[in-house]
């Protein structure tokens, strides 16, 4: 079963910490949608044998499209591709876009999971992040989404310069209180070429020390875990049964097809990505060409490394799965590092799988680099 990712490259404005690809000129939406429809048509003709069981509208801000466009896209996708009947359809949305009417329309269009870019329920923190919504708007949106759709996910950002253990606990508590079934809690990343990073370099923003980042992250994890959530990836938590099926495909090395500018795809041994420029994307499609920019065929070693890297960030390496995929016994092959990591309480091992502990998650890059 494959996943379908649709990239909607529009935002109303740029947040200082974001380095994702998007544009703010919303006049381009109709042309973009034309191009996207062309891409859907070409792809559907190429891949008739693939069945999809997830659609993920990411961005950008997909909620900017409005109900009519989302509805149109979903029905076009259903008509064009072979879709599972109980398909998971997720859509990323900003709280300020989510009034009850809109949410109902999304539900009617088939959206059954809303991922809401809340980031924080505290006004000062939202202002620091240059977000457009107020804490009240966030609260209202999450409550409404939880009631109407029944499956809402809240994005939170952890380790803001002004954040305290209390303030992050408050936001977590609010999310859960409003009915969120899923929380993604990301440690604030200082990406190159963002305003935030420039502010940090100029000394206007003081970045937390790794010790503070670690402390806040640990605190967040235990808070959310204590509320009964399953910690199923470094930054992702879900009530049982509410794990994001689409995101798990990335982490399980399952296939996915990306549509839209800068979208990424994977099919067993090959990764490819689309051009990022919306203009070039449109031109290529108007010529009847796929907007693919680069394609990489992975070597067996690279596939194996990717598998370990992603599995260790998520629910661990499953021994039977590893043997099936790569023909060798993970426990034998990596006995030294397994022993060392378990002894240091960075990982745990069961009959079934090898999993990082919380202590391991926080240095996951250090650990996974060992398998490269």
């Amino acid at each position: 079963m494959s996943g379908l990712y649709v990239h909607i490259p529009f935002c109303s404005r740029r947040c200082t910490y974001c380095d994702f690809f998007f544009i703010t000129n919303q006049k381009l939406i109709p042309d973009f949608l034309d191009s996207l429809r062309k891409e859907i048509r070409i792809r559907s003709e190429l891949s008739s044998v693939i069945t999809y069981d997830t659609i993920f509208f990411g961005g950008g801000t997909p909620s900017l499209l409005g109900a009519k466009n989302v509805t149109g896209l979903i029905s076009l996708i259903r008509d064009s591709f072979d879709m599972e009947s109980n398909c998971e359809i997720s859509l990323e949305a900003n709280p300020e876009d989510l009034d009850t009417g809109f949410i109902r329309e999304l539900r009617n269009a088939g959206v059954n999971r809303l991922s809401i870019g809340v980031q924080s329920f505290i006004d000062d923190e939202l202002k620091f992040l240059t977000r457009q919504h107020s804490p009240q708007q966030a609260e209202d949106a999450v409550r409404a989404a939880s009631e109407i759709i029944g499956n809402s996910s809240v994005d939170l950002i952890c380790s803001l310069p002004s954040q305290t253990l209390e303030s992050i606990s408050y936001s977590i508590g609010k999310a859960i209180d409003c009915g969120a079934a899923h929380i993604s809690a990301y440690i604030l990343t200082y990406e190159d070429r963002t305003l935030l990073t420039r502010q940090m370099k100029e000394g206007k923003v003081i970045r937390n020390t790794p010790e503070t980042e670690a402390e806040l992250y640990m605190h967040v994890c235990s808070d959310i875990r204590n509320a009964g959530f399953n910690h199923y990836e470094v930054s992702n938590f879900a009530l049982p049964g509410y794990e994001c099926r689409h995101n798990k495909k990335y982490w399980n090395l399952d296939n996915y097809t990306g549509l839209g500018p800068s979208a990424h795809s994977f099919s067993g041994t090959k990764r490819w990505s689309n051009v990022s420029s919306v203009g070039v994307y449109g031109e290529r499609l108007s010529e009847g060409l796929l907007p693919v920019e680069s394609e990489t065929e992975l070597s067996p070693d690279e596939i194996r490394e990717d598998y370990i890297m992603l599995a260790l960030r998520a629910e661990g390496v499953v021994f039977s799965e590893f043997t099936k995929k790569f023909g060798s016994d993970f426990r034998e092959e990596y006995s030294d590092s397994i022993r060392e990591l378990c002894a240091g309480k960075f990982a745990g091992i069961s009959d079934e799988r090898f999993t990082l502990t919380l202590r391991g998650y926080i240095i996951a890059d250090e650990i996974t680099a060992r398998y490269f």
């Binding site: 990712y5 990239h7 994702f20 993920f56 990411g58 990301y186 440690i187 604030l188 990343t189 790794p210 010790e211 980042e213 670690a214 992250y217 470094v234 930054s235 990335y250 982490w251 996915y256 990306g258 979208a263 990424h264 795809s265 994977f266 990764r271 990505s273 990489t296 690279e302 490394e305 990717d306 890297m309 992603l310 960030r313 060392e340 240091g344 960075f346 998650y361 926080i362 240095i363 996951a364 890059d365 250090e366 650990i367 996974t368 680099a369 060992r370 490269f372």
Partner: protein, 598 residues
Amino acid sequence: MEKPDIRNFCIIAHIDHGKSTLADRLLEKTRTIEKRNMIKQVLDDMDLEQERGITIKLHAIQMKYTAPDKKEYVLNLIDTPGHVDFSYEVSRSLAACEGALLVVDATQGVEAQTIGNLYLAIENGLEIIPVINKIDLQNSMVEEVTAQIVELLGCRKEDIILASAKADIGTDDILKAIVERIPAAKTDAEKPLRALIFDSKFDIYRGVIVYIRVFEGSIKGGDHIKFFFTGNEFTAEEVGTLKMGRVKSKVLSAGDVGYLIAGIKDVNDTRVGDTVFRKDQPVDEPLPGYKEVKPMVFSGIYPSSTEDFENLRESLAKLKLNDAALSYEPETSVALGFGFRCGFLGMLHMEIVQERLEREYGLTIITTVPNVEYKVYTTAGETVLVDNPSYMPEPAKINYIEEPYITANIITPTEFIGNLMKLANERRGVFVSTTYVDAKRVDLHFEFPLSEIVFDFYDKLKSYSRGYASFDYSFKDFRESDLVKLDILLNGDPVDALSTIVHRDKAFDWGKKLCLKLKELIPKQMFEVAIQAAIGSKIVARETISAMRKNVTAKCYGGDISRKRKLLEKQKEGKKRMKQIGSVEIPQEAFHAVLSLN
């Protein structure tokens, strides 16, 4: 045809006083080379030499000079290495000459190597022509420097030629002085052959090219020849003179400087300073001054990744073809695996070898902290030579240890005497005497343990004297010292490649500084790391590196796994440059920590 008048000479100078530029000018003036073909400083033809501005390997070149009286002369310029590490080679190329141009920078005055090289030239009985260079510079001090030279040489003021090699001032005077003042080479071709080897170099097509100065007799292709000290025998294939390249000739006879090719496969068979003679005309006496060069400074060289070991072995073998002074023996380190213990003439020689391995042979190498060779007298009555700290016998088995001492002269403006005395004191220097070069500058004589000048002494000397002091040294003798081996332990495991031998009085301080430095250099690891310094079983210092707190990318961006992958690959690359010791990863710089301690 009558043999022309030959003048064999060299140029001696302190580093950067303009030796190479002057050589360029002489070659141009004598039309040995056209101006437009001139690469700056043609004699320094190795890349590294050009960059460092020092002539590392000596060469020779022949010029034809027509004097103002229309008489033609052959001038052989023999180039000399410009650094203290190579003083034996300098002395041998001086021995091939009858005269020397002593070049002194008009803005700097007499420096330590001016004097060091001058003494070597005087020992070899050379006629000295003093030249003050760079007189056209604004800050030149022609009068002061003239006085210094008069004082130093006991010559007359009028004997000194004022020049600027860069601006081509005085070049004609210099050429004139060479033929007028330097004695003509004796051309006694009737005696049995005696020729001095003053250099050799390996050529992949011809084998070893031997540079010789014929003192008596003659040599031609087909001659059966023998080397006096090594006893090796060869048949001369080709002889010739050295212009911009090799020029084959029928014969080289007394007075000539040229090359010899004799199917020699290894530069080690051609020792600098050896005497060449004909097998059928044995000589009783070799030419004087032969010495076997011994390495003074040692360091472990290891491939960064173990699979490069064979590569490293081959590269060292190739370097050795051209560098008889380099020695290497395989050795094993618990920390670094398989590598070589290499011996060098001095620090510069070591740096050159390391750089050539990396640059010319594309290797990534780890070098351990350099050390000198110790004579260890054991309680069992044996004498053991130790050139690797980790092979130092246990303290209980040592009766006493001797270390090499050097004699050094430091020339400095008088205002820095206090500073330099302090530096000498820090480095266990023994003050010997002071000589005044002129009213403002002194020549300080010291004796130092060689080990104390191996680490950053030169940099310290410069910073203690605001760059003004200069330094020259030569080996003196072995002396007893109270030395101990200082070990470094990481999480309790000794790291052999980090062991050093230090004076007991300095051991505690060093241990402390070394631990601190390592704490700086070793990145945080998954576990806490304890760094300890120990003498025997006694811990003298300790530092702790706390465990890594966070290293995780929060987000795996919407299916963009390759971005994440690149990040980890980069991290992996970083790890490749580290050495794993027990559970601790050590970056390569750590093996040099001692060098940047003070």
